[in-house]
């Protein structure tokens, strides 16, 4: 799997359910039967924003992640992509203006 691309548009896999918890959230994938934990509320917000933001980096920033923290969030999103909790979205829902 190629490295996680923060500049690409991503979205939650359609078979994934998200349940908020005091510490963040639980994710369950009905296809792979796997459970994941989001141990951070901003990570939860970023994941929920993926579908509506043009890129993963934008979703993180809108969720309140500062630039110096992006690497950590990128690693967390990459883990979610590896387990297919999130998938690339094509074509982008909001194509950039020419």
């Amino acid at each position: 799997m190629p490295p996680f691309d923060m500049a690409r548009p991503w979205t939650l896999h359609p078979q994934v359910a998200v349940r908020p918890e005091p510490f963040g959230a639980l994710l369950y994938h009905f296809g792979t039967r796997r459970l994941s934990f989001l141990k951070d509320r901003r990570l939860l917000a970023a994941v929920q924003l993926l579908t509506d933001e043009p890129s993963a980096a934008d979703a993180c920033r809108t969720a309140g992640v500062h630039d110096h923290e992006l690497a950590g969030y990128r690693a967390a999103l990459e883990t979610l992509a590896t387990s297919r909790m999130i998938v690339q979205r094509t074509p982008p829902r909001h194509p950039e203006a020419p």
């Binding site: 009905f30 796997r34 141990k39 951070d40």
Partner: protein, 364 residues
């Protein structure tokens, strides 16, 4: 279970310690009716309780699970498929995005049922088998039960349903067959699931004959260390981690924090293996009160107190002194619980009188 790189140094077991917003793993014994009468049955099943939840009441429970965002429910019994409304309830659950994993002895897994199961992304089957050979299995589960399970497995394979589970209770008579179980599961494209014999229900009657010996527990531990990544165990063997490193799987007691149980008449318990008033949280028939803000009512058993105390979470009515993390002390605490029939007044966990305790020291 996987977890993205932690952004804060918090351990998940610390969160579990305080209980989640709702169970991850909810066991629902749908009926105590059963065509078999296994000698070690946790729920002493055989006869239907006349006060069983009706179809409509069951559907109301499923609707509540959907509101609680319980991802899936583990349906067992008894033999759940002998309920005439079983498939109707499975359809209701999956239509409401509550996944179903159900345990069966295979009696109703006909070619038709197998095709239906192969076509669903939201339903998993766990076939119970307690011997890799007919003689070992049937001694515990009854004559003909091995053939019934194998026939169901053939039907599932013929329908193209791969990835079903073969669920084995580890006993003194089958721990020598671990490799054979694994080979059997592999040959059907199935996954092996191992669970612990519990001294609950009829399991208490046959405990002395069936519980694995200390030597066998060590064998099991070593086997799980070698094969555990591809074998499901839930939280069955967290007590064995006292032998060395933690095993794959959940290394803490999940009672009232991660798991709970609903029985056929709707009583809710924190622990599926300690069906006792001490652990009873309520009944799904209890009325809930509608909150004033118009959100759907939550029945009293499903409400979680704002308190973060585990004793106040959704399925633990009183502080449970028996749960704990994978320390030997805590593992022993579970087995000292009086409801399991191994009460010991002694303090100091590693002096547990329980034969299941991996850290047990000789008395005296």
């Amino acid at each position: 279970m996987t977890s993205p790189a932690p952004l804060r140094p918090a351990r998940l077991v610390d969160h579990f310690q305080y209980g989640l917003a709702a169970p991850i793993c909810l066991t629902w014994e749908l009926t105590y009716a059963c065509n078999l009468s296994c000698v070690h049955c946790l729920s002493s099943s055989g006869r239907r309780d006349p006060r069983e939840l009706t179809t409509d009441e069951c559907k109301a429970v499923i609707d509540e699970l959907e509101r609680m965002q319980v991802f899936y429910v583990n349906i067992g019994g008894g033999e759940p498929t002998v309920r005439p409304d079983f498939w109707e309830l499975v359809d209701h659950a999956t239509a409401h995005r509550v996944g179903v994993k159900f345990s069966t002895n295979g009696i109703r897994i006909t070619p038709d049922a197998a095709r239906r199961l192969a076509g669903s992304d939201y339903v998993d089957v766990q076939l119970s088998l307690d011997g890799a050979t007919a003689d070992v299995n049937d001694a515990v589960r009854g004559r003909g039960s091995y053939d019934t399970a194998l026939r169901a497995m053939e039907n599932l394979r013929a329908a193209g349903s791969s990835g079903f589970k073969i669920s084995v209770v580890a006993t003194r008579h089958n721990i020598g067959q671990l490799d054979e179980f694994k080979a059997l599961a592999d040959s059907y494209g199935a996954q092996l699931r191992l669970t612990r014999l519990r001294p609950s229900g009829r399991g208490a009657d046959v405990w002395d004959e069936l519980h694995p010996t200390a030597e066998q527990q060590r064998t099991l531990y070593d086997w799980l260390v070698e094969h555990g990544e591809n074998v499901l165990t839930g939280d069955s063997f967290f007590h064995l981690s006292a032998y060395g490193g933690p095993l794959p799987g959940l290394n803490l007691c999940g009672a009232g924090r991660v798991v709970c149980l609903i029985d056929p008449v709707g009583d809710v318990y924190a622990c599926p293996f300690a069906i006792h008033d001490t652990f009873k949280a309520g009944n799904v028939r209890d009325d809930g009160t509608s909150p004033p803000n118009g959100t759907p009512p939550r029945r009293s058993w499903a409400r979680r107190s704002p308190s973060r105390s585990p004793s106040r979470s959704w399925a633990s009515p009183t502080p449970c002194p028996h749960g704990g993390r994978a320390a030997p002390r805590d593992a022993c605490r579970w087995s000292r619980t009086p409801v399991c029939g191994t009460a010991s007044p002694r303090s100091g966990g590693s002096r547990s009188s329980s034969p299941t305790c991996a850290a047990r020291r000789p008395a005296g």
